[in-house]
Amino acid sequence: MIYCLFAIVAVISLYTARHYWFTLNRLFGFQRHPYIDTDTADWPQVTILVAAHNEEKVISHILAALMGVNYPPEKMLVVPVNDRSTDKTREIIDRFCQDHPGRIRPFHRTGGKGGKAAALKDAMELVATEVILIFDADYIPGTGLIKQLVAPFFDPEVGGVMGRVVPLNVGTNLLTRLLDLERSGGYQVDQQARMNLHLVPQHGGTVAGVRLSALREIGGWNDDSLTEDTDLTYRLLLHGWKTVYQNRSECYEEVPETWQVRIKQIMRWAKGHNQALASYGLRLLFGKHRATLRERIDGFLLLGVYIMAPVTLLGWLLALGVFYEGIAPLHGVIALLSITAYSAVGNFAAFFEIAAAARLDYTRQRICLLPFLILGFGVSIFSVSRAFVSQLMAPFTGAQFHWDKTERFRTTP
């Protein structure tokens, strides 16, 4: 029991060190934004896929925004992927088609396998361009975003690109404010630090792009995956393609406004991530492929983030067990120093990261909400652990993976 606890502490310490490394890199290191200044070019043809399943509340916003971007109109085709919608999504898309002839070609999907990856896979029959951008329907791209997301594809090493997601409905309630802080830490610090350090920025599957020839090389969209973005990141990496993160390519999104929706969302992410860990983890670490050593290590740690929730819970249980068994894990001053050091540094690694992100975003007062993040942390750790357990039990219970659409809250149709 004690050695198991030591192992868990070691892994947690590794993630803690990683948090600090990333944060300090963002605060003091060299920042990589190699493609962001490409503002003049012979721009390539691009197809923009907008994944939409019952999105009547939001679909018009993204289509209107895409019609207003500064990318050459004759080089850009918008393909709303209407995936079996039963609301007014189809009518809204068709109305936009009529209003913007030749610029929007809808893909109305009425049957087939559920899930975003399956819908994108089917929509590929309409894609004939080398550069593909993907947005979820609740996103609102700004005027210059398309050029920013296309620019990295001039680099023949780049297979995927990811922009920054910025919550729009921040002030709605405590949950949206906490998610705003989490997103800030995740993108402003985590993703950009991975970009800076030549590690593995994660493809997010929205505000994102992929190169068609790379996608074909890796076998197309994996419609068995619950998180097609994570799956794509690792298959690109294993085939020698880079995913780049563009921190200044910002795009508004809507974050969940109820805990129930948030829990569903994070459980799906956890299951998808764990799926990818099972599929690619060992191959990434030890397999023969083009990833560098640092990409292998960071990629594996990134795959393991959702496993850390049940591992942490297990650590707590083991610590209790050790205590009631009367076993002293360490002795005297060393134990005291270890506990004090971890309390002072380790517990706060993620909070430090988010505080640094808020500073980098030039926001001030929202950092005051930092203590409430413990609430979000608690909900996440139990939800993710629950997802892990249900995944473990699936072979015995016969439960099937299924894709849950994230509910929208915007009120204006």
């Binding site: 990589r32 190699p34 493609y35 200044d37 490409t38 503002d39 003049t40 070019a41 012979d42 721009w43 390539p44 043809q45 925004a65 500064n70 080398e130 550069v131 609102i140 700004g142 005027t143 210059g144 050029k147 920013q148 620019a151 594809f153 001039f154 680099d155 023949p156 090493e157 910025v166 919550p167 729009l168 409905n169 921040v170 002030g171 405590l174 404010r177 705003d180 800030s184 068609l212 020839s213 020698g240 910002e250 795009c251 508004y252 083009r290 560098t292 975003d361 926001t363 001030r364 007062q365 929202r366 005051c368 909400l369 930092l370 203590p371 409430f372």
Partner: protein, 361 residues
């Protein structure tokens, strides 16, 4: 005091202390002082002329008055909506730029000139300057910002602090410091010794004598038959270490090296190129697509690059090389860029930290 009361008091005190630590969070949650979405400017497209458009809009109220001044050959002063004082020049009377009692050669007005304007040496313009006709600057002048509907000629060792935009050409004599955004609808021409950050024009020439300027860029060494963007889909060759492409070799498709890359003299790459270490392009080479280095890049003399030229640390471009073409403009981008006289680029050159126009050795 009973033990129960003491215990309750202790718990109350502990609870109060706990709540005290949460007070800033509770206050922020209630008052929502910082609950807006991050300021992502949806309409900002990164246009280099962003500020010049803004200033044109700001100064547009003055144009009717300026026309009257030009018609009558008079000057006028006044105050703009935001409190800035302006000076309308209806005739080329530069004596008006400085107050008679001024001990320093500093012009505090927003200057709006309706005629050709020749600025005396050494004047500092604290506010923006708008010229509807050609602006010819004296030596050692400092400008906050310039907008011209005609050409701009900056005298030797002048400075532009924020931005300059001209409807016609911008010419900067030796040793000018051009900070911020410099753009022209036709051409920018920088002489040796100039510093720059962001340049944008259909043609950007460095230190060329007038006789060579007309031919530069008109006759590319190799004329690509397909759009540059078509090379984005070219098949790629991925090399784990260093790679050397022999002189005069022709390579179909793109190349990615995890190490350094050396492209020999006169070689032709019909695709794009990426090196994760130092990238050297020898003289006379041709790259149809983009040229990208994760560190530094040295482009030799008389090379031609079709697509974007990007390095994460530094680019050196030797004399006679061309980036982009008039019909297919492109971007040259790195934190530090050194460009020798005789180089022509079409589109944008963006040095985040500092660019230099340097003499041919």
């Amino acid at each position: 005091m009973s033990a129960a009361l003491a215990t309750a008091g202790l718990f109350a005190l502990a609870g109060a202390l706990f709540l005290l630590s949460l007070m800033p969070a509770i206050v922020e949650l209630r008052l929502k002082r910082d609950a807006q979405a991050l300021n992502v400017i949806q309409q900002y497209a990164g246009d280099i002329r962003h500020f010049s458009f803004g200033f044109r809009s700001y100064a547009s109220d003055l144009l009717a008055s300026l026309e009257r001044c030009v018609a009558s050959g008079e000057t006028a002063t006044g105050t703009l909506a935001h409190g800035d004082q302006y000076l309308l020049l209806g005739r080329a009377d530069t004596a008006q730029l400085l107050p008679p009692s001024a001990s320093e050669k500093t012009c505090d007005f927003v200057v709006v000139a309706g005629t050709e304007l020749t600025v005396p040496h050494g004047i500092t313009f604290v506010k923006e300057l708008y010229a509807s006709r050609q602006l010819t600057g004296g030596k050692n002048c400092t400008y906050r910002a310039i907008l011209s509907d005609d050409a701009v000629r900056l005298g030797r060792a002048s400075k532009v602090i924020r931005w300059a935009h001209a409807a016609k050409s911008i010419h900067a004599e030796q040793d000018c410091d051009l900070y911020g955004r410099i753009s022209s609808e036709i051409e920018i021409d920088l002489q040796v010794g100039c510093l720059f950050q962001r340049l944008h024009a259909p043609r950007i020439a460095f230190g060329l004598p007038a006789a060579q300027k007309d031919s530069a860029g008109a006759l590319p060494l190799v004329q690509p038959t397909e759009p540059i963007s078509s090379f984005i889909a070219a098949g790629r060759r991925l090399v784990d270490g260093d790679l050397e492409i022999p002189a005069r070799e022709i390579v179909e498709g793109s190349i990615v090296t995890r190490g350094g890359l050396h492209i020999g003299a006169g070689a032709q790459i019909l695709g794009s190129v990426k090196s994760n270490h130092h990238l050297t392009v020898d003289s006379g080479a041709f790259v149809a697509g983009s040229l990208i280095s994760a560190t530094t890049m040295h482009i030799g003399a008389d090379c031609q690059i079709g697509g974007p030229v990007i390095a994460e640390h530094e680019i050196v471009i030797e004399s006679g090389s061309r980036c982009g073409t008039f019909d297919r403009p492109t971007t040259v981008s790195a934190p530090v860029i050194a460009v020798e006289e005789g180089v022509v680029a079409f589109g944008t050159i963006w040095a985040r930290h500092e660019g230099h126009a340097v003499a041919k050795p």
